[in-house]
Symmetry: C2
Subunit: 410 residues, 2 copies
């Protein structure tokens, strides 16, 4: 098989997501919507706010009534009433008049500004002095200033953060149409693997990937489902893959994807229904021998077996791939990266993107330093010690100590 | 009351967490542990790995048998067997001998290195030539190299990321003792508020904070519980606060904390059982009129009513406060910040930390720019447009365009 496939770049691997159907959509209550991806544009059913609204405690008035007012020459106004919170103002404001108002209340007819209570002095029940002039619109949020009725509040493809939940509430959107969370099946392979609940015998190790990959799937907003450990028997792996394919939208197999003598993942994938190998090798290190196949119209990944390699491929390739399947419009998406100064020289081979694990620490001058963590990709401890990954581009031979680097938090 | 309280700094407000009991602990299955905070140190019950392990496909041998080997002068070795994956090697390796081995398998007795299959040529069933010398330990993970038996794998107070879930699996930790998720009660106050499910009448607006604050509570790894909208009637607010206090570990009240005429949150808080006001005013903008009280030994926050102000106080103060209650050891904790170039001058008042909403965009040279979003703190839209917050320190009068700033993603 190998000869038919060229190693492809990370972006091309992620772009393979375009060959698959995005997940279906569902309605959820607004309370459950945080973290989900919006499937439809949401329009405001009303102006937000629905009326001119005071942003300070004080007096609503015509700004013109205060023009020229100062400490030495206050404006004198007649108080003609008070606005009750949550009610329509029942009194209008004319020139030289003021209405008492609290933050958040509706401006009375005729008023176009609010003077802060701190800039006034009450003379008696119906008279105040104003020591400062206000401009029209001052201390007022206008009707529809936050969102105008009929306007698109949020566009489809957007991830709902707490503030998006807030604006959906303001738009009266108690039920939200979102993309379903992609269900992701996880299969670990290898005769040497035993579950975390067992004590490994000679030659055996506990299965790490079923847990670390499930964690990464959850962080991507998707739903992991584990299908256990397949032995190095093609029938066992095929049976577990079939079950995973039936129950989920995407399958992750870890182990068995390098070129050694027990590497039969690709043969098993080729034997699955409507199977086609799309990717066999990505120019990334660690993680080069990654496979992507389409089986029954669903993506199936063959990830490296080493815990670190599998996690790096997840962070760099599979995570953005899941985002696309999940309906996320990633055009404006930001991967949270921390800028830090590299503490040590890093060598790198050209022709691939090297991902180096780093720990972050405060340097002598208080700025952040990224300290590379040496260690084999079979050592999960190196990921536990790491705060993030630094990518060294494929045209780079390495980075010098002192270079500012972007650290992708993991 | 006000005269008794000085406005305090953000860090002092967060440090008030030390006056409260941290939440209790519970056992959860490892599958459920991601995102939780570890409550006990976890020790490895075995060496990880339990044996010297090959990291490449090839031949296990004594490194000395290859010394001096090269393309022009290969070493000649006798193949005495093969290691089966997941089994103890049943054959020992002597000088001049080699045993076939796959990635992840257990080294046989006598072997101290692995030569990659690519650097060998098979002559017949029992003989190979080796074209490259290997050093002792090469292509081998030693027993206990990842984690040694009895070593602390993870310390209490640590947040469990996917890689921590992985190392817990390797340590045989199927059940994990974690801190409970703090339960956080949420009460919105104001006669002007109606729930998102209703159409606001004149003077009314929909309640945003119950949804946006719940989202932020979830992002903090805590469990939100909403107790509805309290009218501007002290009895109603007191009754909702009592119910929230009984059912949760901490209560957030939003609205009613400024100095205006309807601001009775503080009176209600003072009337709650075993009540003591700890903070009345934080040197932060927006969000200065924030209150923190201790009621029946539990923290109760009075947050500003404006949606943006409440979210900023949550991000800057309440989130790290929750982390402490949740048992997180935040000594090494990193707030994910993105470094960007400020696109515009920003003025700021001294004596408080100003939080400015910014949008991130790629500048002409490809580097990130932070573009301040103007707008009143009553406009939730400005938070929806924002990617993050820039804090301007309390001793700063502002920042010049072009300054590199840290953007806290929100």
């Amino acid at each position: 098989m190998d000869s038919f496939f060229e190693v492809i770049g990370i972006e091309d691997a992620v772009a393979m997501a375009g060959r698959f159907e995005p997940v279906a959509t569902e309605e959820v209550a607004l309370e459950e919507a945080c973290g989900r991806v919006l499937a439809d544009n949401v329009l405001a059913d009303v102006d937000i706010p629905g009326f001119d609204r005071a942003t300070m405690d004080g007096y609503a008035l015509k700004a013109a009534s205060t023009f020229g007012a100062s400490e030495s020459s206050p404006a004198f106004l007649t108080v003609v009433g008070e606005v009750r919170m949550g009610k329509a103002a029942d009194v209008a404001v004319g020139p030289g008049q003021a209405v008492r108002i609290a933050t958040g209340a509706m401006l009375p007819p005729g008023a176009d500004a609010v003077v802060m209570i701190e800039h006034t002095e009450r003379l008696d029940d119906t008279a105040i002095e104003v020591y400062k002039s206000v401009a029209p619109g001052q201390h007022v949020i206008e009707a529809g200033e936050d969102v105008a009725r009929g306007q698109v509040v949020l566009a489809a493809g957007r991830r709902i953060r707490p503030q998006e939940a807030g604006i959906l509430a303001a738009a009266g959107c108690r039920q939200v149409t979102v993309f379903c969370r992609p269900r992701v099946g996880i299969v670990s392979t290898g005769d040497e693997l035993v579950d975390a609940g067992r004590v490994p015998g000679p030659g055996q190790v506990r299965d790490i990937n079923s847990y670390s990959l499930a964690g990464q799937v959850m962080e991507a907003g998707a739903l992991p489902a584990t299908f256990g450990i397949a032995t190095d028997d093609p029938k066992d792996l095929e049976e577990k893959c079939r079950r995973a394919l039936e129950a989920t939208d995407m399958v992750l197999i870890s182990g068995g994807s390098s070129v050694g003598n027990r590497d039969f993942t690709i043969q098993v994938l080729e034997g699955l229904p409507q199977s086609r190998i799309l990717v066999h090798g990505i120019s990334i290190s660690p993680g080069k021998p990654t496979i992507l196949a389409s089986c029954s119209g669903k993506p199936v990944w063959g990830l490296p077996g080493h815990a670190v390699s599998a996690m790096v491929v997840m962070a760099a390739v599979v995570r953005p791939f899941i985002d696309r399947l999940a309906g996320l419009d990633s055009s404006g998406q930001l991967v949270p990266t921390v800028t830090a100064r590299l503490a040590r020289n890093l060598a790198s081979a050209q022709g691939r993107v090297d991902f180096v694990r780093v720990r972050l620490r405060k340097g002598a001058d208080g700025s952040l330093e990224a300290v590379p963590i040496p260690g084999k990709s079979g050592l999960i401890r190196t990921m536990v010690e790491a705060d993030g990954l630094v990518a060294i581009g494929q045209h780079s031979e390495g980075l010098d100590a002192g270079t500012m680097v972007n650290v992708q938090l993991i």
